[in-house]
Amino acid sequence: MERDTNARATRFLVTTSSARASVPGASPFRLGVSFDRLGSVIALLAGISVFVLPFVTYRANRIVSGEPRLLLHALPTTVAVAVMGAVVAVALVAVFIRWPTVRLTAAALGLVVVVPAVGLSAGFMTPTGNNFARISPASGFWLLTLALGLLVADSLTRLRFGPWARLGALVIAAVAVAILLVSGAWHNLSLLKEYATRADSFWREADQHIFLSLGSVAAAAAVGLPLGVLCHRVRAVRGPTLQVLNIVQTIPSIALFGMLMVPLGFLAANVPAAAAIGIRGIGAAPAFVALFLYALLPIVANTVVGLDQVPANVVDAARGMGMSRRQRLTQVKIPLALPIILTGIRIVLVQNLGLATVAALIGGGGFGTFVFQGVGQTAMDLVLLGAIPTVALSFAAAVILDAVIDLAGRVRK
């Protein structure tokens, strides 16, 4: 253990201050423990979350302010002590064990203990027969989850998983979350109570959110890729196109929604066919168009850059062997530009999954509906009901596209 000094771990030196003061320059006393810096931070966070910060908040109903409860008081004592023990064990692993697989396993087990525990706590604290009391995770729980999540992320980075392994890890995480939600372990938490009262609208907004973000990216790709190819081929088109798209990119989203309401409203009022397919001055249409416009620049710009960076002698060889323009594009240039093009799509997908929340402001729907309703009612759980799925979707999209990019660029240096 002493010898296998990891790059990120630091050897911890302890000097006694008196010795240093009295004998300047004397070699310090070495404590024979090597010590992981990030691990210690994680352990510290975990310790604070478990012993100092409230684990859950109890509220008599969904809008009154709550009373914080420490972990020790949020669960039956034996269970609480067991959870504390588990967290301390994970913290010790984080500090002293360097082996990434062990750290990953410990962090995963920690999450498996802590996450259902908060659901259990909700069951324990809800007075029987009381439908108004709300128990929600408090800062201690969130900080603890963050600390364990950091440990997971750090071990995954150190393990340098390939793209398939990362996709596998994502699937495992998704299955774990699904089990947690379906099993009912969290049913007594305020977040799920909030969900239960509006399950129908939740899935409707989820569909809408995915339609707005993925649909706008798909439309932007369908337009942006050919436009990028055109900009790559015709220099005269490139400058103006990229400039216009650049300007669009700088317009704040609310302003862009507002700007689109006028022409789309006009269209709806004057072209019956447009109105018939659902185009309105407010609602999903301006939101979709705005998201589409935001997605266009990164896709076009990355397509142009990707095609431009294909080595000239490779293209020359392709031409010399009698590949037609189309064959050069589809068989040589696009495959070689693909990692960069996909990077552009990754950027806009993650961006639009987040931006789509703003669509709710103009009646476009999506998870933003819950966020803004929640803000209006000062109901934090409702805000979370919109925010958590948004973050989870963005995260999953990033992991999936990173893996795809890796796979696409894998054969080359």
Partner: protein, 312 residues
């Protein structure tokens, strides 16, 4: 046979190739040599119409290249460039299969051809077929580049500084391999280089270009013995001239009757190497043996030197 007739290329006011005419015979290697910017690549690229000529024409076996659709023309002409230009996203086998695939060969025929070419270029198919270009050494990449150009059995191979990126030892091996393969396949080769040594080593015929014009076109011996005064003379290298002449002539050309002591020299080796031997062993003469090992006469330092002398 390729006939280049009054071929010119200009970009605006700049003349890059100026009224070049030359004939390349079937199954020979013609080397176009000249300093950088002379217009060699442009001349070469007008043969497969990567550059459209401003004036003049190119005939391949009597057929005007302008009458053949350009992609079809290029399928029939191998093309090798400096730094190989291999497709980084395709394996060695995929790279070699490029033109056969464009021609719509069936998979089995392509696989056979790829294997055949890998063996021809001394690359073990089991080891190399599935590798990607970045996993190969410079010499291996270069060989794959040539194999790819030869995949659809073109009668004509165009090479633009094909050995330019190789270090000297690998380069001379690659040149020898090219000679062997060219002699075996009988492919007509037009090769561009700025390296005079390479031109003499490879060229059946050498075309010297400078400032867009073809200055002299002839065999290596003609260029050495009767160089055009000025640029060609300087390029041929006055100090090297006798030794270059000697390396062009064979021992068979200088064999004399009589006998001599010591190890025989091979009748097919060149006079430069024979002279080196004589200097090294400190003897004025050596016996000459033919391919079967029979002594056919002797060779002498004086006899060799006569072949390096200025013609009168």
């Amino acid at each position: 046979m390729i006939e280049i007739e009054h071929l010119s290329k200009h970009y605006g006011e700049t003349i890059v190739v100026d009224d070049v005419s030359l004939r390349v015979d079937e199954g020979t290697i013609t080397v176009v040599v000249g300093t950088s910017g002379a217009g060699k690549s442009t001349l070469l690229r007008m043969i497969n119409r990567l550059v459209e000529p401003s004036a003049g024409r190119v005939l391949i076996d009597g057929q005007d290249t302008m009458s053949i659709p350009e992609d079809e023309l290029r399928h029939r002409i191998g093309y090798v460039i400096q730094g190989h230009g291999l497709f980084p996203h395709r394996t060695v086998a995929g790279n070699i299969a490029t033109v056969p695939r464009l021609l719509g060969w069936d998979a089995k025929r392509i696989a056979q051809r790829v294997e055949e070419l890998l063996l021809l270029f001394q690359l073990d198919p089991a080891e190399f077929a599935k590798k990607y270009p970045h996993e190969l050494s410079g010499g291996q990449q270069q060989r794959v580049g040539v194999a790819r150009a030869l995949a659809a059995r073109p009668a004509l191979l165009l090479m633009d500084e094909p050995f330019g990126a190789l270090d000297p030892l690998i380069r001379s091996k690659a040149q020898d391999d090219l000679l062997t393969i060219q002699r075996r396949l009988g492919t007509t080769v037009v090769l561009v280089t700025h390296d005079m040594e390479e031109a003499f080593h490879l060229g059946d015929m050498i075309a010297v270009m400078d400032e867009a014009r073809l200055l002299q076109y002839g065999t290596a011996a003609e260029l050495l013995t009767r160089p055009l005064p000025g640029f060609v003379e300087r390029l041929v290298g006055t100090a090297e001239r006798p030794f270059r002449l000697l390396s062009l002539a064979k021992v068979g050309d200088a064999v004399e009757p009589g006998s001599a002591e010591g190890e025989p020299v091979d009748v097919s080796s060149n006079l430069r190497d024979a002279l080196s031997r004589l200097i090294w062993i400190g003897s004025p003469t050596a016996p000459v043996a033919d391919a079967s090992g029979a002594i056919v006469g002797r060779i002498s330092v004086d006899g060799i030197l006569a072949h390096g002398r200025r013609p009168t």
